[in-house]
């Protein structure tokens, strides 16, 4: 396992670039007009999982976008997944 300096030496610039890309994406969304969208709501929710000291932030982000229900759906009406769960538990 690499130490922290080695990890930062290897990946800091790449992660910095991706972070700025995310910031620019959010700027783009904020400049645009239109209705609220569940995908972006979940995106914002996922951002809340970042910044702590835990080492399972990727898992938490994935769970934020995941269908939390347990039962099979009655019928598949599409083949595609969109990356965020459109449903509601309530």
């Amino acid at each position: 396992m690499n130490n922290r300096k080695e990890i930062l030496d290897l990946y800091f610039l790449d992660a910095r670039s991706r972070l700025i890309d995310i910031a620019a994406f959010m700027d783009r969304v904020n400049r645009s007009e239109g209705q609220a969208d569940f995908r972006y709501s979940q995106f914002l929710e996922a951002l809340n999982e970042l910044g702590g000291t835990s080492s399972n932030q990727a898992e938490k982000v994935l769970l934020t976008f995941s269908d939390p229900t347990e039962d099979p759906i009655p019928k598949a009406t599409t083949k595609a997944a969109c990356g965020a769960w459109p449903g509601s538990i309530n």
Binding site: A58, L63, P72, I73, A84
Partner: protein, 269 residues
């Protein structure tokens, strides 16, 4: 460096891809049956596809000295039509003894529907009845966590199924633990946008260990990279991983799983 591509949909790839893979060190390619990007209209369409997987594609790979193995099924994306699925299932046994068939796959779920589960159970029964290995596709993106749990529950409910003879593919950070904890093999798919990146896959190895796990490109007709595994090898080198550690992930582990099929032949090199 030698490696095995355990999951590549080569019917969708060019001859140049074969050449690039071999030049990068690929020793064996394995091709699970897949959705064509459109729904086939009849079981006859699948018959032709299975002929392609068992006859034509091995010849194409052999032009580059590359052994080609395959897995047979109707993909979960086409499982909503149970009648068609049953017709396709009925023709699979005819191909099951072909010398390059390793088992039943990639079966699984797509949207986690009741019909998908019904067809998955029929595939599992076909595999169990014929002592075949199983390769499982887990759903995409928001459907993956739920679908993976449903699949594990279904497999565990069948007493004939041995977890060590099943690989659950496309695991990510939120599903890998449940798969490994239940004794199954896990596959990590290296994709540019969905599934795992090389770095995330290597992170998963560092957290969960390197037993019962492999990585693949799952290259197909969509956004995917046939050289994803050699790219990950390079990334592991950048992290200073030992060559024996890398070899276990990209060569020895796939050999270990696939050797459970009597039709699999380990390369002499």
């Amino acid at each position: 460096m030698r490696y095995i591509e355990p999951h590549g949909h080569m019917v969708s790839r060019t001859t140049d891809d074969y050449k690039s893979m071999v030049m990068a060190g690929c020793q064996i390619v394995c091709e699970p049956a897949f959705w064509a990007g459109f729904d086939r209209s009849s079981a006859q369409g699948f018959y032709d596809y299975f002929c392609q997987l068992t006859q034509h594609e091995p010849k194409r790979a052999s032009l580059f000295g590359l052994p080609h193995y395959t897995w047979l099924c109707i993909n979960p994306k086409e499982s909503e039509d149970v009648k068609l699925a049953e017709e396709v299932l009925s023709i699979i046994p005819e191909f099951m003894q072909s010398p390059n068939v390793l088992g039943i796959g990639e079966i699984g779920l797509n949207k986690n529907s009741k019909n998908e589960i019904l067809v998955l159970e029929k595939h599992i029964d076909l595999a169990a009845s014929n002592d075949q290995l199983i390769l499982v596709h887990t759903p995409h993106l928001e459907d993956k966590r739920k679908g993976t749990q449903l699949i594990l529950d279904i497999l565990k409910a069948d007493s004939r199924i041995k977890p060590e003879r099943c690989i659950i593919d496309h695991v990510e950070e939120h599903t890998v633990k449940m798969v490994l904890d239940d004794g199954f093999w896990a596959g990590m798919t290296l994709y540019p946008e969905t599934k795992c990146t090389s770095n995330r896959a290597i992170d998963i190895l560092e957290v969960y260990g390197n037993e019962r796990i492999w990585m693949n490109s799952a290259c197909d007709w969509g956004s995917s990279v046939p050289l994803a595994v050699p790219n990950a090898i390079q990334e592991m080198r950048r992290r200073g991983k030992d060559p024996n550690y890398i070899d276990k992930i990209v060569y020895q582990n796939p050999i270990g799983f696939m050797s459970q099929s009597p039709r699999f032949v380990e390369p002499k090199s």
